[in-house]
């Protein structure tokens, strides 16, 4: 950690009271911390946007910070929320994009989000990954996924549920 957490909490407390100088210092230091936080989690060219989105969220939700508690866990919770949101948006965009677009731009944001999620999916058993891809990403019905994989419909539901639960736990730990 490059800076003590306690002073950051004090800076935010002063910012909540309207102290612009304290707020600027806080945002600059938070921006640096966020760059490191997102560094291993998302493609480098997406970091700027994600840092800015997160700083905007810090601004919008600054009233939720409690000066009696440490600042970094608060900032990290917001950062993680924005990160997961970014991954989700990447997937949604991916579903509406033409494949030609991806071929023309190999470092497309949606593709990067897919890579990030692929990294998480690698921790899951194949049977869960298969049905999560079919049902949650490709949009197949449970019956179609069952026919495609040979798993019973009940098993498809169980594997999707268990897989998503495990994914959520992985994101929680990330």
């Amino acid at each position: 950690m490059m800076f003590g957490d306690r002073p950051l909490g004090e800076l935010m407390a002063r910012a909540q009271a309207g102290d612009a100088h304290a707020y600027r210092t806080l945002l600059e230091q938070s921006g640096r911390w966020l760059r490191r936080y997102f560094g291993g989690r998302i493609a480098p060219h997406l970091i700027d946007d994600l840092v800015q989105d997160t700083l905007a969220s810090v601004h919008a939700k600054r009233a939720t910070f409690d000066p009696a508690r440490p600042y970094l866990p608060w900032l990290a919770a917001i950062a993680r929320y924005r990160w997961v949101d970014q991954l989700r948006r990447g997937y949604r965009a991916d579903e509406t994009l033409l494949r030609d677009d991806l071929a023309a731009d190999p470092i497309d944001a949606a593709e990067t989000a897919r890579i990030s999620l692929d990294a998480l999916l690698a921790y899951l058993p194949d049977r869960q990954v298969m049905v999560i891809r079919l049902v949650k990403i490709d949009g197949l019905s449970v019956a179609e996924a069952s026919a495609r994989t040979g798993q019973s419909e009940a098993l498809v539901k169980v594997n999707v549920h268990r897989g998503l639960k495990r994914l959520a736990a992985l994101v929680e730990k990330a």
Partner: protein, 213 residues
């Protein structure tokens, strides 16, 4: 980095003093809503005679206390969820939920021991009254709680939804228990349990889209 500096300039220029979000305020709002709902139930449906006479049946005291305990414990966790944090999840509400679980356990033991099924267990008008009053009370409380949570920054909307639904279900059922003519453990276990479960499911269903930010 230049772009980020520009963005920070904008955020600093937009800085205004803010009033800190306090979970105690959300707690107080929901408590007030619960008292309001109790008053409406008392006026519209009427209190049990023993409750009105301040000499309630022991089971009414027990179930009401258990419901309030569930409501308060889950409400405490739900309002705390309005502030982002990592590694600070409150789990005390699980003990209150376990305490409620003693009622179905007792009912099951009574049934296995051959106790006769209470007549109100299958009384359609009573069941309808139970579910309508409990769930409409829970819905009103849930609406107040979710409206307050929207002013916060919930980072786990699914968990907050379950907790909000459980809190509203516990407190809404408490309002109904002050009217409920039954003093049967079996009735409480099945129909109150169903009302709380439906409320929890409702919270899980409606909270995530409402709490997204």
């Amino acid at each position: 980095m230049m772009n980020e500096d520009f963005r920070i300039d904008g955020l600093v220029a937009d800085l205004r003093p803010v009033r800190r979000l306090r979970p105690a305020r959300g707690f107080a709002l929901v408590t007030a809503a619960t008292l309001g709902v109790v008053a409406v139930v008392a006026v519209a449906a009427g209190l049990r005679p023993d409750v009105a006479a301040l000499a309630p049946d022991p089971l009414v005291v027990l179930r009401s206390a258990a419901l309030v305990l569930l409501g308060v414990a889950t409400l405490h966790a739900a309002t705390a969820a309005a502030r982002p944090s990592i590694g600070e999840h409150r789990h005390g509400w699980r003990w209150a939920l376990a305490a409620i679980g003693l009622f179905p356990l007792t009912a099951a033991i009574l049934t296995l021991a051959g106790a006769p099924t209470p007549h109100e267990m299958l009384s359609a008008p009573m069941i309808a009254s139970c579910l309508v009053i409990s769930l409409s009370s829970a819905a009103a409380i849930l609406a107040v709680l979710l409206a307050w949570l929207r002013s916060g920054a919930v980072t786990d909307p699914h968990r907050a939804g379950w907790l909000s639904g459980l809190a509203a279900g516990g407190l809404g059922s408490f309002a109904y228990s002050l009217h409920c003519p039954s003093t049967s453990i079996e009735y409480f276990a099945v129909w109150y349990g169903l009302a709380i479960a439906i409320s929890a499911g409702l919270g899980r269903l409606v909270a995530p889209p409402l709490l997204r930010w």
